[in-house]
């Protein structure tokens, strides 16, 4: 996508047998999609340091878009632009536009708290509040001032069901969430995020701190959730990206090198750098 770095094209050849992961080799095409989130010439600075360089991306609605790339390439920072979490960092500065459902979220009159209700986020390490399971899920509603017991109860249940955690915790809703296992905690965070009915979910390496079985559960969950939400996921795990995503963006040093249908990107990457990264020769 971005041409700031000149890269030699690769030879067209299949690098990873995607059928291995039991997915169809359907090739998604951006032209057919309904674009939900779009960045236009997005630059991000932390102080003097430029972290993101003119990012132009389109995230289609109800699709899973994976961001891969070596550590420090800016994938997490990009994700944190989508809900303006970078605002919390001293000296951070953003240029360009991010259109969410056609509206620029970096306008001065944007209500950031309201924006974040539409953009749910799950972090690398599970970060449940030191409250009960129930209160963790109800947190977002409570700060919106919702007090009706019935509505809270319903939302907690549906969110926990949607995060396929309900059966495991329905008898311990009043217990401290810190007592759950890591995998359960991470699904609790997902339940917490979807309880406020966002339109897009940002997952920042959601399985990196989990064991393989919990990881699998999270991946299955992502597959189910995409029917309702647009999902952006940052991952270090190439196979995970291949397994769960419809689109993949490969980032390197603050730039998006290549972006496209996962099947295309993993089988016939356009650039040498992408090829090196996904075959494990680099990064």
């Amino acid at each position: 996508m971005n041409m700031n770095i000149k890269l030699p094209p690769t030879t067209a050849r299949s690098f990873i047998d995607l059928n291995l992961f039991g997915r169809s080799n359907h090739q998604y095409r951006l032209e057919d999609e309904n674009i939900f989130l779009e960045t236009k010439d997005l630059n991000l600075f932390y102080g003097q340091q430029q972290v993101l360089q003119s990012i132009n991306l389109s995230l289609p609605k109800h699709r899973v878009t994976a961001f891969i790339g070596p550590s420090g390439c800016g994938k997490s920072s990009l994700l944190r632009c989508f809900n303006r979490l970078n605002d919390l960092i001293e000296d951070s500065r953003t240029e360009g536009q991010i259109l969410l459902d056609g509206e620029d979220i970096y306008q001065p009159r944007t209500n950031v708290a309201y924006l974040r209700r539409k953009v749910g986020m799950v972090f690398q390490k599970p970060n449940p509040f030191p409250k009960s399971v129930y209160e963790n899920v109800a947190y977002g509603l409570r700060i919106q001032g919702i007090k009706q017991r019935k509505r809270l109860d319903e939302t907690v249940e549906t969110s926990l069901r949607a995060a396929s955690l309900w059966d495991e915790v329905k008898d311990r809703l009043k217990e401290n969430a810190l007592g759950l296992s890591g995998g359960q905690q991470q699904r609790l965070i997902i339940a917490r995020a979807i309880a406020i009915e966002p339109e897009i979910l940002l997952l920042d390496e959601p399985a990196s701190a989990l064991d393989p079985i919990s990881t699998l559960k999270i991946e299955e969950l992502i597959n189910e959730l995409k029917a309702k939400f647009t999902i952006a996921i940052v991952t270090h795990n190439m196979q995970q990206a291949a397994r769960v995503s419809d689109y993949t963006a490969f980032m390197y040093m603050g730039q998006v090198i290549e972006f496209g249908s996962t099947n295309v990107l993993f089988t016939t990457p356009k650039y040498r750098q992408t090829e090196d990264y996904i075959t494990g020769r680099y990064g």
């Binding site: 919390l88 953009v119 810190l178």
Partner: protein
Amino acid sequence: MKAWWGSGEPWVWLAASTVALCLLMVFSLLAFIAVQGLGFFWPAPIMQAMHHTPGTAPTRLVGEIYHQDEVPVSRLTKAWQAPFAAHQEVTRYLIKVGNREHYGLDFRWVLKAHLQDIQYPPTLSVVERLEWGNAYGDIEALQENGVTIAEGEAVWEMLESRLQRTRDLRQQIKQIEKQPLGRIHFQLEKLRLQARKLSLQHRLTPEKIAEFETQRREQEALSQQLHDQLAVLHQAMQRDSLLLREMQGQHIVIPLAKVVQIIQPNRLNGMEKLHYYGLRLWHFVSSDPREANTEGGVFPAIFGTVMMVLIMSIIVTPLGVMAAVYLQEYAKPGFWTQLIRISVNNLAGVPSIVYGVFGLGFFVYLLGGNIDAWFFPEAAPAPVFGTPGILWASLTLALLTLPVVIVATEEGLARIPRSLREGSFALGATQYEVLRYTVLPMATPAMMTGLILAIARAAGEVAPLMLVGVVKLAPSLVLDNNAPFLHLDRKFMHLGFHIYDVGFQSPNVEATRPLVYATAFLLVLVILVLNLTAFWIRARLRERYKSLETM
């Protein structure tokens, strides 16, 4: 050997023994205070002896051996030095002989060598009195309206019931004085102030005057009734008295009305002694002081200390927490924030008496004076808030302990993991909501730590309090059942100041020395209880946020 040094083992030993030394010092300090203070309440045996000093006729001496030491002969008066060699050391007793109204002093120094025929006869009694301290001697008779009704051993059969009767009467009198009579005085003063207020505002109409007058008459009539009742009770109290033969054979009449307790310690067995020990200890913590604080209890001082600490906590916690929240969460880090932070830290090092002076000048005179001028003009010239009182003392101490609370809370806030704040922000919380629902609840243990440190520092302060509200003897407690119940303008007593007063300002130094220890021990105990309560609350809060450290 070299390997042993290199292993660091000696340093471990050194560190461990330093800890042991510190513990030893703390415990021996506490043990010393406890033994000195608490031993005082144990019923001591009463000695009887002939006191024979060179050149005088022998006299009978009755009393408790209070203290014993060895002195070089050269320190004795000339007359007493005669039979001893110049460099000898002789044993000297301090004997509490009581009967202060006769002998002027409770105590007498005597040499062991001058005492002959030391005995502990079981008939000797000690009478603890409301006035003039203890009386020692033999009880000869019990009198009713001046007529002897029992003599010798027979006295003891009737004594307890009659003592109980006077105790009950005394209790009744106290109730009347405290409750209805106290309330009438309070009402009368209120009426006077109301009338004065209206007259200052030129709204004192003749009808109002008449109204106040009728009310005043009502209250005074009530008061007269009560006074009549009291007179009857006092009369009844005077009925019984004891005839006591003191050590030199004089007879003393002691009205039972003035008696707290009579025991014959030489006759008591261990269990009975323990019973009296508990009783005296209970008297000490539960009753008012008597005889210029040299006798009686310290209850008002305990109450004042606790009240002051509580009021201070209520003031300092919100102030400190709010300041810390602003500094840590809202203020932009930079030169000025850092400057403020350093200044706050340095405030903790300002000597406490300086705070006392500030409290007197700013709170008492400026603030209190103006409050009086604006809200209580009718009370003039008597000040209401323009004089030292518990509110100003608590405020001064709150100021003194504010830095501790700020620093502890700031540390607590800084420790809340960033991931939790971000988690909350990501759910659409504003900064206020993040603080309110996530950060502040999790920082409560740190706030409690600040409060614990503040209490520890405040409860032991005496110097600033002397300027802003503590008195030797407060006529009434800060809390009573006259509206508005909590009287923040009142002066109060404080255990720390009580120690100073009893120890250094007392006319009867020997008598009060054990009280100093006992009060000191009590102060330590009160602080311990206050701290333990705070610790307990903090432990419960921590329980709720446990495993926070793993994140």
